[in-house]
Subunit: 92 residues, 4 copies
Protein backbone atom coordinates (compact mmCIF):
# COMPACT_ATOMS: atom_id res chain seq x y z
CA UNK A 1 0.00 0.00 0.00
CA UNK A 2 1.54 3.27 -1.09
CA UNK A 3 1.85 6.20 1.27
CA UNK A 4 -0.62 8.14 -0.85
CA UNK A 5 -3.29 5.57 -0.06
CA UNK A 6 -2.48 5.56 3.63
CA UNK A 7 -2.32 9.29 4.14
CA UNK A 8 -4.94 10.09 1.55
CA UNK A 9 -7.78 11.14 3.88
CA UNK A 10 -5.48 13.55 5.71
CA UNK A 11 -4.14 15.02 2.46
CA UNK A 12 -7.60 15.37 0.94
CA UNK A 13 -8.76 17.16 4.07
CA UNK A 14 -5.90 19.64 3.63
CA UNK A 15 -6.81 20.18 -0.03
CA UNK A 16 -10.42 20.86 0.93
CA UNK A 17 -9.40 23.35 3.58
CA UNK A 18 -7.32 25.22 0.99
CA UNK A 19 -10.30 25.22 -1.38
CA UNK A 20 -12.43 26.72 1.34
CA UNK A 21 -9.86 29.48 1.83
CA UNK A 22 -9.76 30.16 -1.90
CA UNK A 23 -13.54 30.47 -1.95
CA UNK A 24 -13.25 32.98 0.89
CA UNK A 25 -10.72 34.96 -1.17
CA UNK A 26 -13.06 34.91 -4.17
CA UNK A 27 -15.93 36.13 -1.99
CA UNK A 28 -13.83 38.91 -0.47
CA UNK A 29 -12.73 40.06 -3.93
CA UNK A 30 -16.34 40.11 -5.12
CA UNK A 31 -17.60 41.95 -2.08
CA UNK A 32 -15.11 44.74 -2.69
CA UNK A 33 -13.59 44.23 0.71
CA UNK A 34 -10.48 46.18 1.64
CA UNK A 35 -7.21 44.55 0.63
CA UNK A 36 -6.30 43.97 4.26
CA UNK A 37 -8.68 41.05 4.83
CA UNK A 38 -7.82 39.61 1.43
CA UNK A 39 -4.12 39.75 2.31
CA UNK A 40 -4.68 37.97 5.62
CA UNK A 41 -6.79 35.26 4.01
CA UNK A 42 -4.32 34.70 1.23
CA UNK A 43 -1.46 34.51 3.74
CA UNK A 44 -3.35 31.79 5.62
CA UNK A 45 -4.09 30.03 2.34
CA UNK A 46 -0.43 30.13 1.32
CA UNK A 47 0.52 28.68 4.70
CA UNK A 48 -1.95 25.84 4.22
CA UNK A 49 -0.60 25.18 0.73
CA UNK A 50 2.96 25.03 2.08
CA UNK A 51 1.75 22.62 4.77
CA UNK A 52 0.24 20.36 2.12
CA UNK A 53 3.44 20.49 0.11
CA UNK A 54 5.61 19.56 3.10
CA UNK A 55 3.26 16.64 3.85
CA UNK A 56 3.56 15.36 0.29
CA UNK A 57 7.33 15.92 0.20
CA UNK A 58 7.63 14.01 3.49
CA UNK A 59 5.82 11.04 1.98
CA UNK A 60 8.01 11.30 -1.11
CA UNK A 61 11.17 11.13 1.03
CA UNK A 62 9.92 8.31 3.29
CA UNK A 63 8.36 6.08 0.64
CA UNK A 64 10.03 6.91 -2.67
CA UNK A 65 13.54 8.21 -1.97
CA UNK A 66 13.78 5.60 0.76
CA UNK A 67 12.39 2.24 -0.31
CA UNK A 68 10.36 0.64 2.50
CA UNK A 69 10.88 -2.79 0.86
CA UNK A 70 14.65 -2.57 1.34
CA UNK A 71 16.75 -2.41 4.48
CA UNK A 72 17.09 1.14 5.76
CA UNK A 73 19.81 1.97 8.32
CA UNK A 74 18.97 4.07 11.40
CA UNK A 75 21.35 6.71 9.98
CA UNK A 76 19.27 6.94 6.83
CA UNK A 77 16.04 7.26 8.77
CA UNK A 78 17.62 10.00 10.87
CA UNK A 79 18.90 11.84 7.78
CA UNK A 80 15.44 11.60 6.19
CA UNK A 81 13.63 12.96 9.24
CA UNK A 82 16.16 15.77 9.56
CA UNK A 83 15.52 16.71 5.94
CA UNK A 84 11.75 16.66 6.48
CA UNK A 85 12.08 18.90 9.54
CA UNK A 86 14.17 21.38 7.58
CA UNK A 87 11.64 21.42 4.73
CA UNK A 88 8.94 22.11 7.29
CA UNK A 89 10.81 25.12 8.63
CA UNK A 90 11.81 26.47 5.19
CA UNK A 91 8.35 26.21 3.72
CA UNK A 92 6.50 27.98 6.47
Amino acid sequence: MSHTLRDRPKLLQRVRRIRGQLEAIERLLNEEEDSSRVLQTIAACRGAMNGLMVEILAGHVRFHVLDPHRKITPQQTEAAEELINLLGSYLK
Copy 2:
Protein backbone atom coordinates in the same frame (compact mmCIF):
# COMPACT_ATOMS: atom_id res chain seq x y z
CA MET B 1 -12.96 53.40 -7.74
CA SER B 2 -10.72 51.18 -5.63
CA HIS B 3 -8.02 49.04 -7.19
CA THR B 4 -9.87 45.93 -6.15
CA LEU B 5 -12.75 46.94 -8.35
CA ARG B 6 -10.54 47.75 -11.30
CA ASP B 7 -8.34 44.66 -11.18
CA ARG B 8 -11.08 42.38 -9.95
CA PRO B 9 -11.63 40.38 -13.15
CA LYS B 10 -7.91 39.65 -13.45
CA LEU B 11 -7.63 38.66 -9.79
CA LEU B 12 -10.73 36.46 -9.95
CA GLN B 13 -9.32 34.74 -13.00
CA ARG B 14 -6.16 33.95 -11.03
CA VAL B 15 -8.22 32.58 -8.13
CA ARG B 16 -10.14 30.33 -10.52
CA ARG B 17 -6.96 29.03 -12.08
CA ILE B 18 -5.66 28.10 -8.63
CA ARG B 19 -8.96 26.35 -7.86
CA GLY B 20 -8.57 24.35 -11.04
CA GLN B 21 -5.09 23.30 -9.97
CA LEU B 22 -6.37 22.28 -6.54
CA GLU B 23 -9.04 20.16 -8.15
CA ALA B 24 -6.34 18.50 -10.22
CA ILE B 25 -4.40 17.76 -7.02
CA GLU B 26 -7.51 16.29 -5.42
CA ARG B 27 -8.08 14.11 -8.48
CA LEU B 28 -4.45 12.93 -8.53
CA LEU B 29 -4.62 12.04 -4.84
CA ASN B 30 -7.82 10.08 -5.39
CA GLU B 31 -6.48 8.26 -8.42
CA GLU B 32 -3.53 6.99 -6.42
CA GLU B 33 -1.11 8.62 -8.78
CA ASP B 34 2.56 8.57 -7.95
CA SER B 35 3.75 11.46 -5.81
CA SER B 36 5.79 12.87 -8.68
CA ARG B 37 2.83 14.28 -10.64
CA VAL B 38 1.23 15.52 -7.43
CA LEU B 39 4.45 17.32 -6.53
CA GLN B 40 4.66 19.01 -9.92
CA THR B 41 1.03 20.10 -9.80
CA ILE B 42 1.35 21.45 -6.30
CA ALA B 43 4.52 23.33 -7.26
CA ALA B 44 2.62 24.98 -10.12
CA CYS B 45 -0.27 25.73 -7.78
CA ARG B 46 2.04 27.30 -5.20
CA GLY B 47 3.57 29.45 -7.95
CA ALA B 48 0.10 30.62 -9.00
CA MET B 49 -0.77 31.43 -5.38
CA ASN B 50 2.42 33.46 -5.01
CA GLY B 51 1.54 35.29 -8.22
CA LEU B 52 -1.90 36.17 -6.85
CA MET B 53 -0.35 37.37 -3.62
CA VAL B 54 2.16 39.62 -5.40
CA GLU B 55 -0.68 41.06 -7.48
CA ILE B 56 -2.70 41.89 -4.37
CA LEU B 57 0.36 43.23 -2.52
CA ALA B 58 1.13 45.44 -5.52
CA GLY B 59 -2.36 46.92 -5.39
CA HIS B 60 -1.99 47.37 -1.64
CA VAL B 61 1.24 49.35 -2.12
CA ARG B 62 -0.04 51.44 -5.05
CA PHE B 63 -3.49 52.28 -3.69
CA HIS B 64 -3.35 51.96 0.09
CA VAL B 65 0.23 52.66 1.24
CA LEU B 66 0.38 55.36 -1.40
CA ASP B 67 -2.79 57.43 -1.51
CA PRO B 68 -3.82 58.20 -5.12
CA HIS B 69 -5.84 61.20 -3.88
CA ARG B 70 -2.72 62.91 -2.57
CA LYS B 71 0.35 64.21 -4.34
CA ILE B 72 2.94 61.46 -4.86
CA THR B 73 6.53 62.39 -5.78
CA PRO B 74 8.33 60.57 -8.60
CA GLN B 75 10.76 59.28 -5.94
CA GLN B 76 7.87 57.66 -4.07
CA THR B 77 6.51 56.05 -7.22
CA GLU B 78 9.97 54.73 -8.01
CA ALA B 79 10.42 53.37 -4.46
CA ALA B 80 7.00 51.69 -4.67
CA GLU B 81 7.71 50.01 -8.01
CA GLU B 82 11.11 48.86 -6.79
CA LEU B 83 9.46 47.28 -3.77
CA ILE B 84 6.86 45.55 -5.96
CA ASN B 85 9.60 44.17 -8.22
CA LEU B 86 11.47 42.80 -5.23
CA LEU B 87 8.32 41.17 -3.87
CA GLY B 88 7.80 39.57 -7.26
CA SER B 89 11.27 38.06 -7.22
CA TYR B 90 11.12 36.93 -3.58
CA LEU B 91 7.73 35.30 -3.87
CA LYS B 92 8.44 33.22 -6.92
Copy 3:
Protein backbone atom coordinates in the same frame (compact mmCIF):
# COMPACT_ATOMS: atom_id res chain seq x y z
CA MET C 1 18.45 62.22 8.64
CA SER C 2 17.72 59.15 6.55
CA HIS C 3 16.50 55.94 8.09
CA THR C 4 19.71 54.20 7.11
CA LEU C 5 21.64 56.58 9.30
CA ARG C 6 19.27 56.13 12.21
CA ASP C 7 19.01 52.36 12.12
CA ARG C 8 22.54 51.82 10.91
CA PRO C 9 24.03 50.39 14.13
CA LYS C 10 21.22 47.85 14.41
CA LEU C 11 21.53 46.84 10.75
CA LEU C 12 25.33 46.57 10.93
CA GLN C 13 24.98 44.37 13.99
CA ARG C 14 22.71 42.05 12.00
CA VAL C 15 25.20 41.96 9.13
CA ARG C 16 28.00 41.03 11.53
CA ARG C 17 25.94 38.26 13.10
CA ILE C 18 25.34 36.81 9.64
CA ARG C 19 29.08 37.01 8.89
CA GLY C 20 29.77 35.12 12.09
CA GLN C 21 27.34 32.41 11.01
CA LEU C 22 28.97 32.20 7.58
CA GLU C 23 32.38 31.78 9.23
CA ALA C 24 30.89 28.94 11.30
CA ILE C 25 29.62 27.32 8.09
CA GLU C 26 33.07 27.67 6.52
CA ARG C 27 34.67 26.08 9.58
CA LEU C 28 32.18 23.21 9.62
CA LEU C 29 32.82 22.54 5.94
CA ASN C 30 36.57 22.52 6.52
CA GLU C 31 36.35 20.29 9.57
CA GLU C 32 34.51 17.64 7.57
CA GLU C 33 31.58 17.80 9.92
CA ASP C 34 28.48 15.85 9.06
CA SER C 35 25.97 17.69 6.88
CA SER C 36 23.48 17.85 9.75
CA ARG C 37 25.25 20.60 11.70
CA VAL C 38 25.99 22.47 8.49
CA LEU C 39 22.31 22.34 7.56
CA GLN C 40 21.24 23.67 10.95
CA THR C 41 23.78 26.49 10.83
CA ILE C 42 22.82 27.48 7.32
CA ALA C 43 19.13 27.43 8.25
CA ALA C 44 19.88 29.84 11.12
CA CYS C 45 21.97 31.98 8.77
CA ARG C 46 19.19 32.11 6.20
CA GLY C 47 16.75 33.17 8.90
CA ALA C 48 19.10 35.97 9.97
CA MET C 49 19.45 37.09 6.35
CA ASN C 50 15.68 37.19 5.95
CA GLY C 51 15.46 39.20 9.16
CA LEU C 52 17.94 41.74 7.80
CA MET C 53 16.01 41.95 4.56
CA VAL C 54 12.70 42.57 6.32
CA GLU C 55 14.36 45.31 8.41
CA ILE C 56 15.67 47.04 5.30
CA LEU C 57 12.36 46.59 3.44
CA ALA C 58 10.55 48.08 6.43
CA GLY C 59 12.76 51.18 6.30
CA HIS C 60 12.21 51.36 2.55
CA VAL C 61 8.42 51.37 3.03
CA ARG C 62 8.41 53.82 5.94
CA PHE C 63 10.92 56.33 4.58
CA HIS C 64 10.97 55.98 0.80
CA VAL C 65 7.57 54.70 -0.35
CA LEU C 66 6.04 56.96 2.29
CA ASP C 67 7.67 60.38 2.39
CA PRO C 68 8.13 61.55 6.00
CA HIS C 69 8.30 65.16 4.77
CA ARG C 70 4.73 65.00 3.44
CA LYS C 71 1.45 64.51 5.20
CA ILE C 72 0.67 60.83 5.74
CA THR C 73 -2.86 59.77 6.65
CA PRO C 74 -3.48 57.29 9.48
CA GLN C 75 -4.87 54.92 6.81
CA GLN C 76 -1.56 55.03 4.95
CA THR C 77 0.44 54.37 8.10
CA GLU C 78 -1.84 51.44 8.90
CA ALA C 79 -1.51 50.04 5.36
CA ALA C 80 2.29 50.38 5.56
CA GLU C 81 2.55 48.58 8.91
CA GLU C 82 0.24 45.84 7.69
CA LEU C 83 2.48 45.34 4.66
CA ILE C 84 5.60 45.21 6.86
CA ASN C 85 3.97 42.61 9.14
CA LEU C 86 3.08 40.47 6.14
CA LEU C 87 6.63 40.71 4.78
CA GLY C 88 7.90 39.62 8.17
CA SER C 89 5.71 36.53 8.13
CA TYR C 90 6.42 35.65 4.48
CA LEU C 91 10.17 36.00 4.78
CA LYS C 92 10.63 33.84 7.85
Copy 4:
Protein backbone atom coordinates in the same frame (compact mmCIF):
# COMPACT_ATOMS: atom_id res chain seq x y z
CA MET D 1 35.05 9.73 1.24
CA SER D 2 32.05 11.79 2.26
CA HIS D 3 30.32 14.15 -0.14
CA THR D 4 31.41 17.08 1.97
CA LEU D 5 35.02 16.23 1.25
CA ARG D 6 34.41 15.84 -2.45
CA ASP D 7 32.35 18.95 -3.01
CA ARG D 8 34.14 21.01 -0.40
CA PRO D 9 36.04 23.38 -2.72
CA LYS D 10 32.85 24.25 -4.59
CA LEU D 11 30.90 24.80 -1.36
CA LEU D 12 33.67 26.91 0.18
CA GLN D 13 33.76 29.04 -2.95
CA ARG D 14 30.03 29.67 -2.56
CA VAL D 15 30.50 30.60 1.10
CA ARG D 16 33.24 33.07 0.15
CA ARG D 17 31.08 34.65 -2.52
CA ILE D 18 28.33 35.19 0.05
CA ARG D 19 30.86 36.73 2.46
CA GLY D 20 31.92 39.12 -0.29
CA GLN D 21 28.29 40.13 -0.80
CA LEU D 22 27.83 40.68 2.93
CA GLU D 23 30.90 42.91 2.99
CA ALA D 24 29.37 44.90 0.13
CA ILE D 25 26.15 45.28 2.16
CA GLU D 26 28.16 46.44 5.18
CA ARG D 27 29.99 48.99 3.00
CA LEU D 28 26.75 50.27 1.46
CA LEU D 29 25.20 50.68 4.91
CA ASN D 30 28.25 52.60 6.12
CA GLU D 31 28.37 54.81 3.06
CA GLU D 32 24.78 55.91 3.63
CA GLU D 33 23.78 54.68 0.23
CA ASP D 34 20.12 54.74 -0.69
CA SER D 35 18.17 51.65 0.29
CA SER D 36 17.71 50.67 -3.35
CA ARG D 37 21.27 49.42 -3.89
CA VAL D 38 21.25 47.75 -0.49
CA LEU D 39 18.03 45.94 -1.38
CA GLN D 40 19.46 44.70 -4.68
CA THR D 41 22.66 43.49 -3.05
CA ILE D 42 20.82 41.72 -0.28
CA ALA D 43 18.49 40.07 -2.80
CA ALA D 44 21.54 38.74 -4.66
CA CYS D 45 23.06 37.61 -1.37
CA ARG D 46 19.88 35.81 -0.36
CA GLY D 47 19.83 34.06 -3.72
CA ALA D 48 23.43 32.91 -3.22
CA MET D 49 22.59 31.67 0.26
CA ASN D 50 19.64 29.69 -1.09
CA GLY D 51 21.94 28.24 -3.77
CA LEU D 52 24.39 27.10 -1.09
CA MET D 53 21.57 25.56 0.90
CA VAL D 54 20.22 23.62 -2.09
CA GLU D 55 23.74 22.34 -2.81
CA ILE D 56 24.14 21.10 0.75
CA LEU D 57 20.61 19.63 0.82
CA ALA D 58 21.36 17.83 -2.46
CA GLY D 59 24.46 16.24 -0.93
CA HIS D 60 22.42 15.34 2.14
CA VAL D 61 19.82 13.54 0.01
CA ARG D 62 22.35 11.77 -2.25
CA PHE D 63 24.82 10.67 0.41
CA HIS D 64 22.96 10.54 3.72
CA VAL D 65 19.30 9.82 3.02
CA LEU D 66 20.45 7.46 0.29
CA ASP D 67 23.37 5.32 1.39
CA PRO D 68 25.95 4.99 -1.43
CA HIS D 69 27.28 1.78 0.18
CA ARG D 70 23.94 0.02 -0.28
CA LYS D 71 22.06 -0.95 -3.39
CA ILE D 72 19.91 1.92 -4.70
CA THR D 73 17.18 1.22 -7.24
CA PRO D 74 16.79 3.45 -10.33
CA GLN D 75 13.39 4.46 -8.92
CA GLN D 76 15.05 5.74 -5.76
CA THR D 77 17.66 7.70 -7.72
CA GLU D 78 14.89 9.21 -9.81
CA ALA D 79 12.84 10.13 -6.73
CA ALA D 80 15.93 11.73 -5.14
CA GLU D 81 16.78 13.82 -8.20
CA GLU D 82 13.15 14.91 -8.52
CA LEU D 83 13.20 16.05 -4.90
CA ILE D 84 16.47 17.97 -5.45
CA ASN D 85 15.02 19.69 -8.53
CA LEU D 86 11.94 20.74 -6.55
CA LEU D 87 14.09 22.10 -3.72
CA GLY D 88 16.06 24.08 -6.28
CA SER D 89 12.89 25.67 -7.65
CA TYR D 90 11.33 26.33 -4.21
CA LEU D 91 14.44 27.89 -2.73
CA LYS D 92 15.14 30.37 -5.49
